[in-house]
Amino acid sequence: MTALLETVGLQKAFGAVVAAGDISVTVRRGQRLGLIGNNGAGKTTFVNIVTGHLKPDAGRVLLDGRDITGLAPRQVRRNGVSRSFQIPQLFGSLTLEQNLLMALAILRKEGISSWRSARSDAHMAELDELLDRFRLRSYREQTIAVLPGGVRKLIDVAMAVTHQPKLLLLDEPTSGVAVEEKFPLMDVIMQAIGGSQSTVLFVEHDMEIVGRYADRVLAFYAGRIIADGDPAEVLSNEEVQRYVTGTAA
């Protein structure tokens, strides 16, 4: 498999706090990569730099060999990198249908129309498919503000997977979700994106979820990567157990 994402020497500090200290990672196409680490370890900073929300103090982000460092989030999205958020970022006063139509309509080749309705036949067919894929059909006409947290998480991911992103970054997809709903939620998400060719990076605190859904794990600590490898290898690493999972003897 060829490299899709490559970060070279990423550095980012907020005052005296180093959030990214020389992060160099190569992600191959098709990988399911879990990012673990305590709060403040640098996982979300890494996601924010890759998706254009933050500009690194130093270093480069390459996607398919193309330098996308410092591009605005919308430009990064147009290059094929999409993301979901720890706290779902949705359009609260609009319905689920309007939220998904928005995601479907923006990146279409014909551009954003000032007169064609968002409810065109092409959009509606894609919308139906997306609703089924994420099992959201029963919420279609409901306003986002009244929907439960787990459903909002699914919508957040559903909006991110439209237009087949090359790289999908999920920031804590199960945070704020009840323990018994975490695996069903991840099952729906992974099945929904399973058919696509997207490479997936997900930030996660639940090691059982990491163990089940990732085929490679990066462990962050104090802005550095302290372990990188397959889940079993990383989770049994002494440093990871001491600084991340807290399971060291």
Binding site: L90, S93, Q98, I106, L107, I112, S113, S114, S117, A118
Partner: protein, 325 residues
Amino acid sequence: MAGMLGTLAAALIAFAVLALAGFAAPNWLVLVATLAFSKGLVALGIVALMRGGLVSFGQGTFYCAGAYAAGLAMRSFDIGDAALLVALGALAGLILGLLIAPLLASYRGIFFATLTLALSMIVYGILNKTYSLGGSDGLNLHAPTFFGYRPAGSQQGGYALFLFASLVTVIAAALCRIHFDSVRGLLSLAARDNEIRLEYLGASVRFVSGINFVIAAVLAGIGGALSALSLGHIDPDFAFWATSGEFVFLAILSGYVSVTAVFVAAVLLELVRSFSSQYFPNTWQGALGVFLLLIILFLPGGLGSLVPRLRLGAKGVQAPAGKRE
């Protein structure tokens, strides 16, 4: 496509109804309605901005630009046809809007509102001291022709102007409805809700705001030209902050959901103002203030939210933003 055709059909019917109503209505009411439509167009522009989460307190700038463009064309170039004068008003709004939009489209909230207000007061100050444009006295305009037709007498002239203003209004309203229901229109509502998400979906919030700003400027230019023809006089007060405030008042009164509500609110406000100033000449502003207070307290979504509220309220369902009416 069906929605677009429905909107155009509704516009055609609305124009026919207005034409008949104007024919039967007394002359004073025709004049009030013409002025209300002119101001409603400016408020419709603010509604376009409000849908994207912005409020301009300086639409008087473009209203004034439209009015002076029409007035100067009439006085300096002897252009007397209403259609041409209104087109020039729209052009003045467009040019000014295109020049200012890139400067203001990055600002939000109180900063955007204050900057638009500041611009309008600069224009007001300049016009007051520009004696070639009439200074604080302004300019008088004569009655326009309508596609070559010159009405005989003021009553015919008033009705002809009303018909023309109605035509311009229904066209602008229909185009705005189509735009509001389009992908870009939906983008405005999304920008109002969550700019971060919109950027991450690949859209530029700044561009969305810029487009809305230009639309609002063109509508204000058209409204200004129509007002100038309706009043037969223009002066720097067109750009005064209180004039801009009145348009914001109208937009709040109508809400951002319904296009029709903007013009209903405009007629209502002009009627309240006419009667209040006749019967309570020194306190009518107070009456308007109480009116606005009641709207904000009991109908925060404006008059346009009344129909969906009545329709869905009984079921306990919350109306989503921007639902078509």
